[in-house]
C-alpha cells in the first residue's frame, strides 16, 4: 500500500476516492521507563525509551489505518496527517488519518 502526505501521486491518476480512513492508538509508559525519564529530567538529553514507545504506537496507528483502507478496497492513502494528544497524565493518543483512494 502506498502512503504519502501529498495530495497526488506523481505519474499516477486517482481512479476513485473512498473517503477518510483513520487509526489511533493510546499508550501509557511503564514504570521503569518513567524512572529513567525522571533521571533524564535532571540531566537533560534524549529520552530514548519514549522515542521508541511513541514510534511504535504511531506505527500501530498507521497499521490500523492501513487495515481500514484495505478493507474498503483502497490501494493507496493520500494526504496523511498525524496528531498527538495527551489524554491523561502518563498516556498519549497517537492518531493518523488520510484519504483512501484507488490508483490506476
Amino acid at each position: 500500500m502506498l502512503i504519502t502526505n501529498l495530495e497526488i501521486v506523481p505519474g499516477k491518476r486517482v481512479a476513485k476516492h473512498l473517503g477518510l480512513v483513520q487509526g489511533s492508538s493510546v499508550r501509557a509508559k511503564h514504570v521503569g521507563r518513567d524512572i529513567m525519564a525522571s533521571l533524564k529530567n535532571i540531566f537533560g538529553g534524549e529520552l530514548r525509551g519514549y522515542t521508541e514507545l511513541l514510534q511504535e504506537s504511531r506505527e500501530e496507528a498507521m497499521n490500523r489505518m492501513q487495515q481500514q483502507a484495505q478493507a474498503i478496497g483502497a490501494n493507496a492513502v493520500l494526504n496523511i496527517r498525524f496528531s498527538t494528544s495527551s489524554v491523561a497524565q502518563g498516556a498519549a493518543e497517537l492518531f493518523a488519518y488520510g484519504t483512501a483512494v484507488v490508483l490506476e
Partner: protein, 161 residues
C-alpha cells in the same frame, strides 16, 4: 537546610551534564546536517513534474528530548519576570533539527533525493509533573521522492537528477 543542599546538588548536576549533553548534541546535529545537505526538504505540496515520474513514500522522524534541571529552574525564574525563555528555545531547536535529520536519514536510506510537503508537529509529553514543560516530542514527516533510476536499477551516482 537539607532541601537547599539537595536543590544545589541537582542544579549543579543539571548545569554540568546538561551543558555537556547540549554541546555534544549540537555538534552531531551540525555534522549530520552537513552530510545531508544535498537532500532537499521542501514545504510545498506539489512536486515538480518529471519524466519518468519518481516513486514516493512517507518518511518520518521523531525524537523525545528533555530539558535539564538547571534550565528548568531558570525557566521557572523567567516565569516571574516574563520575556524570552532561552533555555526552552534551545530545547525546541534541538528537537526539531534532530527530528528533521532522522527523517532525512530514513529518506536517504531509501535513495530519495527530495522530501516534499514536510510537516512538523510538536507535543509536550510530561505535562503532569509540577506543571512544567519538561520534555517535548517532535515529529517531522514528509513524502520522499525516489528517482525511478534508483528505485529500479538500485545504483546511480547521487548527484544525477
Amino acid at each position: 537546610m537539607v532541601d537547599l543542599i539537595v536543590l544545589i546538588i541537582l542544579l549543579a548536576l543539571g548545569y554540568g551534564f546538561g551543558r555537556i549533553a547540549e554541546k555534544r548534541h549540537y555538534k552531531s546535529i551540525i555534522a549530520r546536517e552537513r552530510k545531508f545537505r544535498n537532500l532537499y526538504v521542501i514545504a510545498a505540496k506539489f512536486p515538480p513534474v518529471t519524466s519518468p515520474p519518481p516513486s514516493s513514500t512517507l518518511v518520518t522522524g521523531s525524537v523525545v528530548i528533555s530539558v535539564d534541571y538547571f534550565k528548568r529552574f531558570l525557566a521557572a525564574l523567567r516565569n516571574l519576570f516574563g520575556g524570552r525563555v532561552k533555555s526552552y528555545e534551545s530545547l525546541l531547536d534541538r528537537a526539531r533539527r534532530e527530528a528533521i535529520l532522522r527523517m532525512k536519514q530514513q529518506a536517504s536510506e531509501l535513495g530519495a533525493d527530495m522530501v516534499f510537503n514536510i510537516k512538523i508537529e510538536t507535543a509536550s509529553i510530561s505535562k503532569g509533573r509540577k506543571q512544567t514543560v519538561g520534555s517535548v516530542e517532535v515529529l517531522a514527516y514528509g513524502t520522499a521522492l525516489i528517482p525511478e533510476s534508483v528505485a529500479v536499477g538500485g545504483s546511480t551516482s547521487p548527484g544525477i537528477r
